[in-house]
């Protein structure tokens, strides 16, 4: 949302000026401009000739225009974004404008940079604010797990799924790539999935098996609907062997797919692999920078396109529970990549492999447990799950 002011913009405002004093008109004039997120829109409306006669812009516009011009020439600030980052006193010193004029310039720059004006939570609940969909969740496909997650993965942030090898993380990732393709009334988002593999090649045979078994897993959905969905066509698979290609994928290809509505979930399997092997122990500063850049681009994609992002992570052993612990001292493993990554994650889930087996019909599976480590809207809770032919399914707790 950064805007540049150029000669055309200043020209348009100069054409329609008529000097007229009055502090009240000034407040009215800046009011609508401040409320509209696009400052330029207000300019073109006012430059129409009939609008000029009815509602001539007033004296402060000239001041604002000269103010902006001085900011551009004397202060060498070329965009509203740079203006917002400079303090009022610095601007006064650089341009020689008075305090009131500088405040006007800052208010105009801030109005151009803000994303949206404040909305109330009630408006959000009623869906009156476009862009943020209240309560939209991506279901996992199993009613027990959907109940644990209160509907499923939230669409506006990064969800992390960590666990030991063989715990079933990739299985859950595959299952989500299929459940996203169902319509919204069945817990999906009516779109495809982007699956980025960073270590092992994509388990294509397992995906085919899951697709065949969808009618068994999703017994709540009418079979005609399931057969109408072309599952494998809508799963986009990328293999990225290093950080650079991952960044290229996230900055070029992912936004294209998301903007066209072809995908509505990004699964990255796994994040730890690239960061752990590409950096030495003393390169942690560089690693942190890359990690921040990566997580920042993930978050931007997630918020801009209202897409859930699932990052699969590995775990490390915890050797001694020191005083500075990152979680309740109850486990011997914690997710990899440390505090810097943990700060970027909205929802943290963990899949553990437990002792014992469970059986369902003719199938048996090793017992696993999906736990919520932290989430803004979820209780610290877990459900026992098994990995079956048709996918990951929770079992109701005996307790």
């Amino acid at each position: 949302m950064t805007s540049f002011f150029n000669a055309t913009f200043i020209n348009k405002r100069c054409k329609t000026v008529k000097p007229e004093s009055g502090p009240d008109r000034w407040r009215d004039d800046l009011g609508p401009a401040a409320a509209q997120p696009d400052y330029h829109r207000g300019v073109t409306e006012r430059s129409e000739p009939n609008r000029v006669l009815q509602n001539p812009p007033v004296f402060p516009d000239v001041q604002l225009v000269t103010g902006l011009g001085l900011v551009w020439s004397l202060a060498q600030l070329k965009s509203f974004k740079e203006v917002v980052c400079v303090s009022g006193l610095d601007l006064q010193r650089l341009t020689g404008l008075s305090q009131a004029e500088v405040q006007e310039v800052l208010a105009a720059a801030a109005a151009a940079c803000r994303s949206h004006s404040p909305v109330t939570a009630l408006q959000l609940q009623r869906g009156e604010h476009h862009g943020y969909e209240f309560g939209l969740r991506l279901g996992v496909g199993c009613p027990v797990l959907d109940q644990l997650l209160r509907g499923g993965l939230p669409v506006g942030g990064v969800t992390e799924l960590s666990g030991e090898s063989g715990a079933g993380k990739t299985q859950l990732g595959l299952q989500l790539s299929l459940s996203v393709q169902y319509p919204q009334e069945h817990g999906g988002l009516n779109s495809g999935a982007l699956y980025i593999c960073t270590e092992d090649p994509f388990p294509i045979k397992r995906l085919q098996q899951l697709i065949l078994e969808q009618p068994v897993l999703r017994s709540d959905v009418p079979p005609s609907l399931i057969s109408g969905i072309r599952f494998s066509d809508q799963v986009y698979i990328e293999h990225t062997a290093d950080l650079e290609s991952l960044q290229v994928c996230l900055s070029c290809r992912a936004p294209l797919l998301l903007a066209q509505g072809l995908v509505r979930i990004i699964v990255i399997d796994s994040v730890a692999a690239l960061f752990r092997c590409e950096f030495q122990a003393d390169d942690w500063l560089e690693r942190n920078k890359q990690l921040l850049a990566f997580s920042s681009s993930l978050r931007h994609l997630s918020h801009e396109f209202n897409t859930p992002v699932l990052c699969i992570n590995q775990v490390t052993d915890v050797f001694n529970q020191s005083a500075d612990s990152l979680g309740p001292s109850s486990s011997s493993v914690c997710p990899a990549l440390g505090l810097a990554w943990a700060n970027q994650v909205t929802v943290r889930l963990m899949m553990r492999r437990l002792q014992g087996m469970i059986s369902r019909g003719a199938q048996t599976s090793a017992l696993r447990r999906l736990e919520v480590v932290f989430a803004p809207h979820l209780a610290h809770d877990g459900r026992d799950v098994g990995v079956w032919r048709e996918g990951v399914c929770g079992v109701l707790d005996a307790e």
């Binding site: 801030a110 994303s115 918020h303 803004p376 610290h380 809770d381």
Partner: protein, 342 residues
């Protein structure tokens, strides 16, 4: 007071015109009204008004308050309760209105939960000991999930309706509903530090219109500034400006400012320990600093820095109803009903 006009907060062209007309000091401007000044100096009416105002106030100085007036003002103002009585007691009633408070802790400890709880608690009617104000929430992390806010509001309404005894409280309960609570929470999503700074520039104008706002929450202030890892000096400068702006907003508009901060690891010799992020310079900005941490499986809230209170620690828990006291009984009816053992 006799001050040279060049030291006042005016534009250079105005100062030049005044100088050419022969006005050197503020005493020269006495007994002049705006029309006379604009005629003599050749400045416009509005500029003449500005000059006289600046000369009167001595360049924009503040008014003086005696310590007794300040004490009366502080005693008259209420605090925002957190619903955890141990923590409220340690803070002397709750979070103070008119001051900035920082909440830091590791991810998952409950910072956002406490912020959401405060967003609901600030709206408690005055007859229940609340502040009855509105709240503006600047969300930079995307952790403002409406499901949770609805849960907490419903729990607060239930809690108050159980407590409602006399006439006044019953009347207040008719307006204290989940819908009303949601309508009093203003939300802005800020995706990077530029949007956050822009929002804070526009906040004073917003607060002038909505005088009932008593709480500003920024969750979190660290995340947008992490992008500036390349240019630490710019980051420090922006943070200092931000801190000053927040203090100005808190005192001028009489609102409580709550900021959330992350933790980062600091290495000291061979040991590493967790400290609040954004450095020591940011540490000077908030008045009070609360640290939320784990001790075993218990959550603790400690007051790290406060001008008026001792450094105490309180236990708390997060239940499905929100931020509450740690349960004293053996079987806590809490969200964390299971501790997992391998």
């Amino acid at each position: 007071m006799r001050r040279p006009l060049s030291s006042l907060n005016l534009g250079t062209n105005v100062k030049v015109k005044l100088g050419r007309a022969g006005f050197q000091f503020t005493s020269d401007l006495q007994h002049l009204n705006p029309e006379q000044l604009s005629q003599e100096a050749g400045v416009s009416q509005q500029e003449a008004l500005q000059v006289l105002q600046a000369a009167d106030t001595g360049g924009g100085g503040g008014t003086f308050l005696s310590a007794l007036e300040l004490l009366q003002k502080e005693e008259g103002s209420r605090s925002i309760v957190t619903f955890c009585s141990q923590l409220d007691h340690a803070l002397g009633g709750g979070l103070p209105v008119g001051k900035t408070t920082e909440i830091c802790g590791v991810p998952g400890i409950g910072k956002t939960q406490l912020c959401l709880q405060l967003a609901v608690d600030v709206q408690l009617p005055q007859c229940f000991g609340g502040v009855e104000g509105q709240v503006i929430f600047l969300d930079t992390e995307g952790s403002f999930l409406l499901q949770r806010v609805v849960d907490m509001s419903a729990a607060a309404v239930r809690h108050c309706s159980m407590l409602a005894e006399d006439e006044e409280q019953q009347v207040a309960m008719t307006t204290f509903t989940v819908e009303n609570i949601l309508s009093n929470i203003f939300l802005v999503h800020c995706r990077d530090y530029v949007e956050l700074l822009a929002e804070l520039h526009l906040l004073p104008a917003f607060l002038q219109e909505r005088t009932k706002i008593r709480l500003l929450i920024i969750d979190s202030v660290t995340l947008p500034f992490l992008q500036l890892f390349d240019d630490l000096s710019q980051r420090t400068r922006l943070l200092q400006g931000l801190g000053q702006k927040l203090i100005a907003i808190a005192t001028n508009h009489n609102i409580a400012v709550v900021i959330t901060n992350h933790m980062t690891t600091r290495l000291r010799g061979a040991h590493s320990h967790l400290v609040p992020a954004l450095g020591d310079i940011w540490g000077h900005a908030p008045t009070t600093r609360l640290l939320l941490e784990w001790e075993g499986s218990q959550r603790l809230a400690s007051i790290l820095k406060s001008p008026g209170h001792m450094e105490t620690t309180a236990q708390y828990q997060i239940t499905c109803e929100g931020f509450r006291d740690a349960a004293q009984s053996e079987q806590p009816q809490s969200k964390r009903s299971r501790t997992f053992t391998d």
